[in-house]
């Protein structure tokens, strides 16, 4: 009997290794694949049958004997590829998720792998950048900057030495798509980086992965070794962060790679002109780079066919926190927040009413259900003082106290500030203390007025978005949930 069990860290954290070990001990052949992203069903086990793979989940190690004896029908999910959660998605970047073995070069090549790189080699730098520009692809790391413009800047910058840096610092709470991509389809990221290298004339790439991701680090290191001959002369090195959220900011990341304190640099100069070791450097998020092989293989216009407004293509949305159908949902831009939370996410896991949703990580705004008509689109979120960011959606039920969430936003900023500017370094501490007073019921009105002022100082006086956007979660919580602050 042949079984498929994911080796994605989310599956492993839910017990997938023990499930695989038990199945193996019972004589089954266990194939470790990437995760489909239906995390509420992990560990998900698929059994190969004459009618295709049949999924069961969640399966604990103690359930495996029953499963193999055909006595776990109550956990039968059926064919995963035709599950509504998968069928409603548009999987371009995550096309292989759940289907292939992450480190199998055969699986990768058999599912269209390297077609983008081949095309890139055939058409050359200018045409590559042209394809990426027409695709409308924007940076998936947070700021949404057009990838084509960044690449063109680096392409035109004087060489000879240039770098491609993949930002795999993924520090935002509620996000895990970078991790899943690196663990589940590492060659796809490598292919994207190699294409970027060809486009701008760089022959060296770094993947900067946060230290909290040991599984992703191991997979990427193995993958880099396995396919070195296929991307040569382009070379990739995996580097590991050291537990600093701010190192996700691109210039801080470059300092960290250079072996310095991860302080944010003043821009300009842009990294594309003067980046790593002062050389032209493309810094892109994992998902930005991983979207590129598809774009090259299918053409920029095909990618641009998906989307909404100026947000083209697809976004791997991450449904997290207190949500029933938690996991990865890649979709063209254009769904509403309400559709994502309720229709797809199934509401809260606790069964209680949804009270608030934070989108875009710790610097993203909290949305109340009354704003669930907001469309997933960079401009639509900005128009409501929020951000799509890395598209993590964290759901809270009605037991959440928004004043505590506002206080946490300051606490996080204080803990992770790089210390370079005063409004961020000191403002966050002041904000935390002031919000603690609000929580204690001390003169809420006066203290909230103080916080508004403080937020204005942080917004306008901070060098980077850590200090500059911490006011988003704070002010959105105050604005949309005033009852939690009247104490």
């Amino acid at each position: 009997m042949r079984l498929f069990v994911s080796d994605d860290a989310a599956a492993v954290a839910c017990g997938a290794d023990a499930v695989a070990a038990r199945a193996d001990a019972l004589g089954a052949e266990v194939v470790r694949t990437s995760s489909w992203g239906l995390h509420w069903l992990e560990p998900l086990v698929e059994i190969e049958t004459d009618d295709g793979r049949i999924g069961y989940g969640p399966v604990a190690a103690a359930d495996v004997d029953a499963l193999l004896a055909g006595e776990l029908e109550q956990r039968r999910i059926g064919d995963i590829a035709s599950h509504p959660f998968i069928r409603r998605q548009t999987r371009l970047t995550f096309a292989r998720a759940g289907r292939t073995r992450p480190l199998s070069l055969d699986d990768y090549a058999a599912t269209g792998g390297w077609a983008g790189l081949e095309q890139a080699r055939a058409i050359g730098p200018e045409a590559i950048v042209q394809q990426v520009t027409t695709s409308g692809l924007r940076g998936r790391g947070g700021a949404g900057f057009p990838a084509g413009i960044k690449w063109e800047t680096a392409r035109r910058a004087a060489g000879p030495r240039k770098y491609i840096v993949c930002n795999a610092d993924e520090g935002d709470s509620g996000t895990f798509a970078d991790r899943m991509l690196m663990e589940g389809d590492p060659f796809c990221l490598i292919e994207g980086m190699a294409i970027a290298g060809l486009a701008v004339g760089a022959d060296k790439g770094f993947v900067y992965i946060r230290s909290e991701y040991p599984h992703a680090i191991a997979k990427m290191e193995a993958a880099v070794r396995l396919c070195a001959h296929l991307v040569a002369p382009f070379e990739i090195e995996v580097r590991v962060g050291a537990g600093a959220y701010v190192c996700g900011e691109e210039t801080s990341l470059l300092n960290s790679l250079e072996g310095k304190r991860g302080e944010v640099r003043v821009k300009p100069p842009l990294p594309a002109i003067e980046g790593l070791f002062g050389r032209p450097t493309v810094v892109n998020n994992v998902l930005t780079l991983a979207a590129v092989p598809w774009i090259l293989a299918n053409g920029g216009p095909a990618y641009a066919d998906f989307g909404s407004g100026r947000s083209r293509g697809t976004m791997p949305v991450q449904l997290a926190g207190n949500i029933r159908h938690a996991g990865l949902f890649e979709t063209a831009f254009g769904l509403t927040l309400g559709e994502l939370v309720h229709d797809i996410g199934g509401g809260t896991a606790s069964g209680r009413p949804v009270k608030a949703v934070q989108v875009g990580g710790p610097l993203g705004a909290y949305f109340p259900p009354s704003l669930f008509d907001t469309v997933l689109d960079y401009e639509a979120f900005a128009a409501r003082d929020g951000l799509v960011g890395h598209a993590g959606i964290v759901v809270f039920d009605d037991t959440v106290d928004m004043a505590r969430q506002a206080r946490f936003a300051f606490e996080f900023c204080a803990a992770e500030s790089c210390g370079k500017c005063t409004p961020c370094r000191l403002g966050s501490v002041r904000g935390y203390e002031t919000m603690a007073r609000v929580l204690a019921g001390e003169d809420a009105a006066a203290n909230l007025a103080l916080i508004e002022e403080l937020c204005e100082t942080m917004t306008f006086g901070s060098l980077c978005a850590l200090g500059g956007l911490t006011p988003y979660p704070v002010l959105s919580a105050i604005r949309h949930f005033p009852e939690d602050f009247a104490r």
Binding site: S211, A244, L257
Partner: protein, 153 residues
Amino acid sequence: MCSWQGLDSAVTDANAQLDAIIAAHQGREGPLLPILHEVQRAFGCIPEDAIRHIAHALNLSRAEVSGVVGFYHDFRRAPEPLPVIKLCRAEACQARGSDALARWAEEAAAGRVAIETVYCLGLCSVGPSAMVGSEVHARLDPAALDQLIERAA
């Protein structure tokens, strides 16, 4: 303070190990973080003696290397005597009850295990989550956490 002072032979061994670590990375572009990671893996912290050694080898000042060590949450100057459980306290895990779980963890650990805070392990769809070494654990409730603590203690 983290140090290998004591037996002369221990000092010699440690120095040899340190030299080997530095030599393995010195030729790389931006070798400092890889070196610090490996030193910490080998010694459980970044000893003062190592900072001097590394600074010398990389042609940096001690203050520069110290500044880097101090900047990153991962690097310790003193070894952690207790086993460590890193518990996620970021928003997605908060939404699944990590605050209450953290209070529970402190009590259950009773000083035998260090409960450290981390902000996000990328397991936000299956929280609350924790990491022990490089092992990951999700869907934690008090019972599962008790087990983790007892196993670590």
